[in-house]
């Protein structure tokens, strides 16, 4: 067991834990944050994506040991921001949500991309979403939603 301090959704937290736990399990079990999903459990689907020092990572592939002193933001924390509101409206407008399983990961991927590149090209959006699988939409609506968010939210990122 070891003590791990990190920021979770803007709040400093401290846990006594085994270092070999996955960040995904810590978020689910210790903090009851269930917005992120375990899809493949192998880093291929992006359903468990969170922001790690403001960059997308798959929480199923990160040991909690690596999170010491990091800033972790889940979809729950992100949903309190004005950027989230813009993305949510854009996803709704463009019909980018169907079953919803991939959506938290898609929103995290969109935020990670727009934070670095506020005016991405279609190709750059595709690269930004390349680690997130969606079996419903065919991706086109999600790409359009991010283009819409970038336009509507100009200056926010």
């Amino acid at each position: 067991m070891a003590k791990i301090d990190f920021r979770l959704n803007g709040v400093p937290v401290s846990i006594e834990t085994q270092l070999n736990r996955r960040l995904l399990d810590v978020l689910h079990e210790d903090f009851d944050l269930i917005g992120i999903k375990e899809g493949c459990g192998e880093g291929e689907c992006g359903a468990c994506a969170v922001l790690f020092d403001h960059e997308i990572i798959n929480s199923c592939s990160v040991p909690i040991a690596n999170c010491a002193n990091k800033d972790i933001v889940t979809i729950e924390g992100f949903s309190n921001t004005s950027r989230y509101k813009i993305l949510k409206d854009a996803f709704e407008e463009e019909g980018a949500v169907q079953c919803g399983f991939c959506t938290p990961g898609m929103m995290i991927a969109a935020e990670s991309l727009l934070n670095k590149n506020p005016k991405p090209t279609t190709e750059e959006i595709k690269i930004g979403l390349s680690g997130n699988l969606c079996r419903c939409t065919g991706y086109n609506m999600i790409i359009k939603a991010i283009q819409r968010a970038a336009k509507v939210g100009e200056g926010k990122w």
């Binding site: 070891a2 791990i4 085994q18 270092l19 070999n20 736990r21 996955r22 399990d25 459990g41 192998e42 880093g43 291929e44 992006g46 994506a49 790690f52 960059e55 997308i56 990572i57 798959n58 199923c60 592939s61 990160v62 040991p63 040991a65 690596n66 010491a68 002193n69 991927a109 990670s112 991309l113 690269i127 930004g128 390349s130 680690g131 997130n132």
Partner: protein
């Protein structure tokens, strides 16, 4: 019970590994998956583990006149985004995994894993990368192609850790990295090819090829490359069949769940042919 250590600094790591055997976990993107078993969560590591991802001494990308030095725990994405990273390395990283995995996966991890399909190894072999290892006894530098000895086997002593990767600063007139996988991202290579060439007044002055996932480790044959130095572009193009025949001996892939040996060999040699013919 295995020990798990989150070290404060490199000195602590060197002390620990001088006394007892440990494995290193950097980004964890491979180690967590390899040891993942839902019945035995948390991750069921069989060895003592030291977590190295956040070690300050293993971070940083610096350059001097001739060399670029990359800390072993630098993530693939931070290497991709760094201005001083050579384009040949960036082109490869862009085809690896996905942004999420690239934020966690590290250069030291990709080398330590020593997978025949490790994509980053392909440009690193081509750039004659040197792996720097540190122990309490001092620093040892090894050519990457000597460091990787077999499938998933490396020349790392029990008291050593990979600290830095050093590549020479070099630009080519043309380079091309091609990765063949089942989809564009998050795919493990069926095979990969990297060619690089430079000319001076129509004569070849530098020519390098490396192939991934077609042998126990990356295939690079400097003695074949050297035979074509000072040939003209036309002469090089005219010798393409002979060149393919020479490489054919070393392209010895296997059948596995991702592909089969006939496909791998045919495509690898076709990619070499295309590269030469399109010069």
């Amino acid at each position: 019970m295995v020990k798990q250590i989150l070290p404060k600094n490199l000195s602590e790591v060197l002390e620990l590994i001088s006394k007892e055997k440990y494995r290193f976990c950097a980004g964890g993107t491979d180690m967590l998956i390899q040891n993942h078993n839902l019945k035995t969560l948390p991750i069921d590591f069989k060895d003592n583990i030291i977590y190295t991802f956040n070690l300050e001494e293993l971070k940083g990308i610096t350059e001097d006149e001739d060399f670029i030095t990359i800390g072993a725990s630098e993530s693939l994405e931070s290497i991709l985004e760094n201005k001083i990273t050579p384009q040949i390395l960036k082109d490869t990283i862009l085809q690896m995994a996905s942004p999420a995995i690239r934020h966690s996966g590290t250069i030291g991890g990709n080398i330590g894993n020593a997978s025949p399909a490790g994509d980053l190894l392909v440009p690193l072999y081509l750039l004659n990368a040197i792996v720097q290892l540190q122990s309490l006894k001092g620093i040892r530098s090894v050519l990457l192609s000597d460091f990787i000895t077999h499938v998933r086997r490396i020349d790392l002593r029990d008291d050593e850790i990979i600290t830095k990767i050093i590549i020479s600063k070099i630009n080519f007139d043309k380079h091309q990295f091609v990765k063949v996988g089942p989809r564009l991202s998050d795919a493990i290579s069926k095979l990969s090819f990297l060619g690089a060439v430079s000319f001076h007044e129509d004569k070849v002055i530098d020519l390098r090829f490396s192939f991934g996932a077609v042998n126990i480790t990356v295939v690079r044959r400097p003695e074949i490359e050297a035979q074509y130095i000072y040939k003209t572009k036309e002469e090089l193009k005219n010798s393409v069949d002979e060149l393919l025949e020479k490489y054919s001996e070393y392209i010895r892939p296997i059948d596995d769940q991702r592909s089969n040996k006939e496909y791998r060999k045919t495509v690898a040699l076709n990619l070499l042919r295309n590269f030469i013919e399109e010069l």
